[in-house]
Symmetry: C2
Subunit: 112 residues, 2 copies
């Protein structure tokens, strides 16, 4: 079970969000990740360690390469938590729609 | 435009996530929030300040009451960012489905 504290904390950094955005288009090695970010490989590795610890990415072993990719479990966990807020907002909009429908029908009654 | 750094950072605390979960079922005052959490009102107020600063909740003024509720803009902002990862995972699953379909049709060819 991924830890939501460490997952959300890992997302609170723009470089780490950018790394996840890059991995969203496919797996990449530290070297491949370091290039577009103009960061040293140790700096990228530190960010990857945080993302790995938070359960948001996983590494694959392929010979001497260690490509990283998104970890579905961790992302699904934060998404499921957020779904609760998303549903709450959607319900509020539904309630607003109902109020507007009632208001419109009231308006119609006022028409002589 | 809500700041994603402060928004995700605010979500990295279990009490703050619990406050948001409570507000998902409707607005509440500091006093109403303090009760179920068995926390002092100043402690709750500090958490509310962080959530407000992160653009995740707003306060309404109603006489002497200051009920808080979810702030749609802030929640939509983090949800939209997360949608990018969600879509990437969905595409990966689609690709996996395609691979499985091809594998099954290949299997069928093998049947004499």
């Amino acid at each position: 079970m991924p830890n939501l504290d460490t997952a959300f904390s890992a997302l609170a950094d723009p470089t780490r969000r950018a790394i996840l955005a890059r991995l969203a288009s496919g797996e990449a090695t530290v070297m491949e990740l370091a290039e577009p970010f103009e960061m040293t490989q140790p700096a990228i590795s530190r960010h990857l360690k945080v993302l790995e610890g938070a359960g948001l990415i996983v590494r694959r072993i392929e010979g001497t390469r260690r490509p990283r990719r998104l970890a579905p479990d961790g992302i699904v966990a934060i998404d499921q938590w957020l779904a609760m807020l998303r549903d709450a907002l959607a319900k509020n909009y539904d309630r607003l729609d109902e109020v507007l429908v009632v208001m419109k029908s009231e308006e119609r009654k006022d028409v002589p």
